[in-house]
Each structure stands twice: as C-alpha cells, then as structure tokens.
Subunit: 142 residues, 2 copies
DNA sequence: GTCCAATATGAGACTGAGTGTCAAACACGC
DNA sequence: GCGTGTTTGACACTCAGTCTCATATTGGAC
C-alpha cells in the first residue's frame, strides 16, 4: 500500500483520523513483514514515546476490521499482523524471516468459488496462508 | 478418525501411551466440532476429575504435532482444536455452531502445487480454513 | 474560528490462555 | 519384577490482550 493512501483509508467507515492511528499504520506498512502487536508497539514507541500499548492494539484491530491489515498466527500462540492491500488477503509467510508475500487473488478465487458452490456453506472469510521458507531463506540453508 | 485407531496413533513417534492422552484424544474426536483447550479440559474432567489442566494442553499440543488434530483461531484470540484424519488438514469452520467439516484434499492440492511451483517458496504447511455459516445455521437465520 | 458531542487516547489494573517447574507416578523395555 | 526415562498433576508464573476511566482530540455544526 502506498504510504500516501494510508490516511484516506484510515478515515473510512466513520473512524476518526488520529495521529496515533496514522503512526501505527505507517509503521506496519513500512515493516513489510509480519509483526506482533508488542513488536510494533516497541517500534512505534521509539518515535512516539507517549503512545499507549492499548492504542496500538486497538489500531491494529481496527485495521484488520477495515481490511487494511490481516492477522495470522505465529509460533507460540501470538498473533502477527501484516499490512495489505484491500484485494490481497492471502499470504506466503516465511517462518524464518517473517517476510510476507501476497498471494495473487487469481490463485485463490477458484477455490473459494468452488467451495461455496459444492458445499452448503456460506464462506465469510478464509485464511489461505502458506507457511514455509522463502527462496532466500531456503538457499541460506537450514 | 475411528476411535479404535486412536491408541495406535497416539503411541507413534516414541510417545508413551498414557490413559490421559487417550482420554483427551477420544473426547476431542467425539466432539466433532472445534473446542478450545479449556472447554475440552472441562469436558474431560467430568469423567476424570483428577486430570490436570496442563496435561490437556500438552496432549493437544502433541496431537497437533503428530497430525492427529489441527489448531485454528477462534474469535477472541483463543485457539480451538479439531480431531482430524492424517490426510485432511483443511476445514470449513462454522463460526456459529463451531462444527467443522473436512475439505477434500482434491480441492486444495492444485493450489498448493501451483504455489510451490510458481513462487520461489517451499511450503511447509498451509492453513486453508474457511470460516462462515454451515447450511443449517444459515437456514436458521441470523 | 469557536463550540460541542462523540470518539480516541494513555495509564494501569485486570483477565485468562498457555507455560514452566518439580516431586510423585507411570509406561515400557529388559 | 526392576530401573529408567517420560508423563502427570498441582500450582505458580508469564504475558498477550482487554477493560476502565479520566483526559484529550476529532470533526461536524454554527
């Protein structure tokens, strides 16, 4: 997501545009990898020492609701967050370096469609996340 | 999974076969829906009042490692567990009644294969879980 | 620009899922 | 049966995430 587009999307849906939410969103977008709320809190705090922990959690929650970020699981029962475009909600997550790549919607759409049709099931949301090693981590060896 | 097969699979991989692990595995298999560790602990305790909470957590963890169960996320950042066959690790999860259906491997395999090929990414495991309303919950209305 | 109501923030207490520790109990190969 | 190495149960502990509430900000109305 382009950094300039962040404020516009943050203000959508009747939410107020606050300095804190902008800071959190930009930090997440700049990371380009999956971060836990705690990690993001620590990053943000170096530039904004007065920001509250709860604020970061709330900002992330809001971003997930608004489709600006998505949440998934990391080892040890911790949620991690990644900034993403509105259209891309499926990911390749490198379990070593935590870098995340978007998965093209085209790969996923047929599966979503066929599941809805074949099974009597109304899909609300799907977690199509692939965990493994990205190219560079794999080449770097175990 | 057939109930009779449980002890055999529990003992695989050098793990010891204990009464507690059998009880936990059978309770999870009998539930036929996603349960949190706490919920399962409470169910198990009604028949085995002395079982420890940590034991249930450890048993579930072991089952996930051994592929006898899989874990996914429920609202409120709680893990839920579902017993599953070795081959079926993708699910349709009803967010209302928590019932879980297996997703046929055939639906999923092409996606897995194409991702591995097209992208420079070594897939270790994938979470292909669809959340939504099952047929009967949908018909029962909002 | 000023005012106001509604919303967001920060601080910190609180909750509860999940983990670590350790002595006692048990499984399993011999 | 015997010995050893794993597992258990109890419970203390950790820490991610939530709640509360007084204070501060936002953004629309004027």
């Amino acid at each position: 997501m382009k950094a300039a587009a962040i404020p516009t999307r943050l203000a959508s849906g009747g939410r107020r545009l606050t300095r804190q939410r902008v800071v959190v969103a930009k930090a997440l977008a700049a990371a380009r990898r999956a971060l836990s709320a705690q990690e993001l809190y620590e990053r943000v705090r170096s530039g904004h020492p007065t920001i509250g922990r709860a604020t970061v959690y709330r900002a992330l929650e809001a971003q997930v609701e608004d489709g600006m970020a998505s949440r998934f699981e990391r080892e040890g029962h911790v949620s991690a967050y990644i900034a993403c475009d509105a259209e891309h909600h499926h990911h390749l997550v490198c379990t070593r370096c935590q870098r995340v790549e978007d998965l093209a919607e085209g790969v996923v759409a047929p599966v979503l469609a066929s599941v809805g049709r074949q099974r009597d099931f109304q899909v609300d949301h799907a977690a199509l996340d692939f965990y493994g090693l990205c190219g560079s981590c794999r080449r770097r060896g175990r």
